[in-house]
């Protein structure tokens, strides 16, 4: 097992290098490069000041040297300072990270505990009313723009019914609340964002777990279990379910990129104080060190999700370890 984990970790290194190269290339795609972005807004910046900036960022050196310098800084999580307020980028990201993690972890849990039973029940009662209803729901789920659904829910629960707050993480008078009121306040602010960011995954995973379960139910060992007269419940929940779970576990890790990517739009809609909103604001303000920092951290989180998925996979399915 340890050897397997070590191998996965080693495998991550070329991936990481690749990610940094792509990010680096994207930045240098921009006409004029990063220094022009910083100075472009004020034409009064002298050529001399520009040259000074160039040497500050090492932009006067050849590309591969620049990449190397940039990479060594990345390894120390040194993304530089924000153009906007001069604060360290890594600090800005760290203070936003908890809100994003809270949102994503809750979404993952919601996806897992709702989509999985839906998929399993659909498969067990194939072609039943429930199954057909869920198939339609899943199909709609693939086609609905989630940000539009967010608007509709804000409209329904925020504007028409007035039950839920539609933006932010706290109410204005949050500091004066007692502990339980604070908890309830945060929960109320969480409901819509969590549901919306889980939405795409819900459809995807319930469909996937249905397929996986259907496949397992056709296996010989399920027929054997039935043939030896085991009660149907035991066949399904002991023999079939365990095997159907294996591929689903990995999907949870793999749904991280979608969750993080979705964060940029959902956190912006709900004014959720997370990393996605920080990234969006940075993009709108052309705050280039922050954009890069968020990009690299987001990719890192994704890689981490993949790694966790791989390890869980090996954990639940011993066959994988010896591949």
């Amino acid at each position: 097992m340890l050897e397997y984990i070590a191998r996965r970790l080693l495998f991550m290194i070329p991936l990481l290098l690749g990610i940094t190269i792509i990010t680096f290339v994207v930045i240098h795609l921009s006409p004029g490069g990063p220094a022009d972005m910083l100075t472009g807004l004020s034409p009064k910046v002298s050529a001399e000041a520009k040259a000074r900036l160039h040497s500050l960022y090492g932009l006067d050196k050849p590309l591969h040297v620049q990449y190397w310098l940039w990479l060594t800084r990345l390894m120390r999580f040194d993304f530089g300072e924000s153009f906007k307020d001069g604060r360290l980028v890594i600090m800005k990201i760290l203070e936003r990270l908890p809100a994003t993690l809270l949102l994503n972890v809750l979404s993952l849990l919601l996806i897992f505990f709702i989509a999985l039973p839906i998929g399993i029940i659909s498969a067990v009662r194939q072609d039943s009313f429930f199954d057909k209803g869920m198939t339609v729901f899943v199909f709609l789920g693939f086609s609905v723009p989630a940000f539009w659904l967010a608007l509709l829910l804000m409209l329904l629960f925020g504007v028409f019914l007035g039950w839920l707050p539609i933006s932010g993480m706290h109410s204005v008078n949050f500091p004066y609340f007692s502990f339980w009121e604070k908890l309830w306040d945060v929960i109320k602010h969480l409901i819509l964002p969590v549901f919306i960011s889980a939405f795409g995954g819900l459809a995807y995973l319930s469909r996937y777990s249905r397929t996986s379960m259907l496949e397992v139910l056709r296996q010989d060992y399920v027929r054997t279990a039935r043939a030896k007269g085991l009660p149907e419940k035991k066949v399904i929940y002991r023999h079939a379910l365990r095997n159907a779970l294996i591929p689903i576990v990995t999907l949870l890790g793999l749904s991280l990129p979608a969750l993080i990517g979705g964060g940029f739009i959902f956190e912006t809609i709900f004014a959720w104080p997370g990393m996605g909103r920080l990234g969006y604001q940075a993009i709108m303000a052309r705050d280039y060190p922050v954009i890069m920092g968020v990009g690299v951290i987001a990719a890192l989180l994704t890689l981490l999700g993949n790694l966790i998925a791989d390890i869980t996979y090996a954990f639940v399915d011993p066959r994988i370890r010896y591949r």
Binding site: L15, V26, I27, S143, P145, W148, L152, A298
Partner: protein, 278 residues
């Protein structure tokens, strides 16, 4: 062969419905000026934010423009983005997949590692980043969605190629001394066309969703050009006073994407019996 497909396809009612909707949308896009009751850019400040009525069927927006007309014109943007973006992704994806699956070896390794890297990025952020560094415009949106959309297709095509490559007719073609290019394009490609077609159809729906999300964030199609996504931006700003601005453009997106998904799933059933298992 195509006759059999058509016969099976016609029996699939949902797929037919999808095809019908897509066809109607294409017609709407082409004859938009004939259908739209007003010019999509004609402002009328006195009648801004009017609810749906006999004159403005779907109401007006914050500048008094007719919502129905803007949605009709938005059809053009969505279809254009969907087709061009997926066209780019399909060309890159199939080509790399073919090369990777046919030649194998180090080329395969390099291409597949690159695919792994691309799949690791939260794609939506990669798109946001590129658009931020370039200028947001419909052309950049199409290019970026296309250039980030190919990796999963490459994987799929490669997998198909690996199995087709070992079949007798490919072996025979190689034994006859045909050039690699000819074997790939004439013998391999037609046999992996089915999954490409299915992925392309489903992908168009996805590209339309991405475009609308980008435009919604102000990083896609720029106003005053109407796109379903950027109408929704106004919808968000006026959410407490003008529900119609939020509801109708989203419905348009939903119906369009649904149509492509229906068609794609239908094609999957018709073209590839192995995928029918589901």
């Amino acid at each position: 062969m195509w006759k059999i497909f058509w016969k099976r396809f016609r029996r699939n009612k949902l797929a037919m419905l999808g095809a019908f909707i897509i066809f109607s949308l294409a017609v709407v896009a082409i004859i938009a000026p004939l259908i739209a009751p007003f010019s999509p850019d004609q402002q009328d400040i006195l009648h801004r934010l009017e609810p749906p009525s006999g004159k403005h069927f779907l109401g007006t927006d914050d500048l008094g423009r007719d919502l129905l007309s803007r949605i009709v014109y938005g059809t053009r943007v969505s279809l254009l983005v969907g087709f061009v973006a997926i066209g780019i992704a399909i060309v890159i994806g199939s080509l790399l997949g073919l090369l990777s699956g046919y030649f194998g070896g180090w080329l395969d390794t390099v291409i597949m590692r690159f695919v792994d890297i691309m799949l690791c990025f939260p794609t939506f952020f990669l798109i946001l980043m590129v658009i931020a560094f370039l200028e947001p415009s419909i052309w950049n949106v199409m290019a970026v969605i296309g250039l980030t959309g190919w990796p999963s297709l490459t994987r799929l095509v490669r997998g198909e190629c690996l199995s087709v490559r070992e079949r007798e007719f490919v072996q025979a073609a190689r034994a006859l001394g045909l050039s690699n290019r000819r074997v790939m394009l004439v013998h391999l490609l037609p046999n992996v066309m089915a999954p490409i077609l299915v992925t392309a159809t489903l992908g168009i729906g996805g590209a339309i969703l991405t475009e609308s999300a980008l435009s919604f964030l102000g990083l896609g199609v720029q106003p005053p050009t109407a796109s379903w996504g950027n109408i929704l931006t106004a919808g968000k700003d006026y959410i407490s006073v003008a529900w119609w601005l939020s509801l109708f453009p989203g419905l348009a997106i939903l119906i369009t994407v649904l149509a492509y998904n229906l068609l794609g799933e239908g094609l999957r059933d018709v073209l590839d019996p192995r995928m029918m298992a589901e």
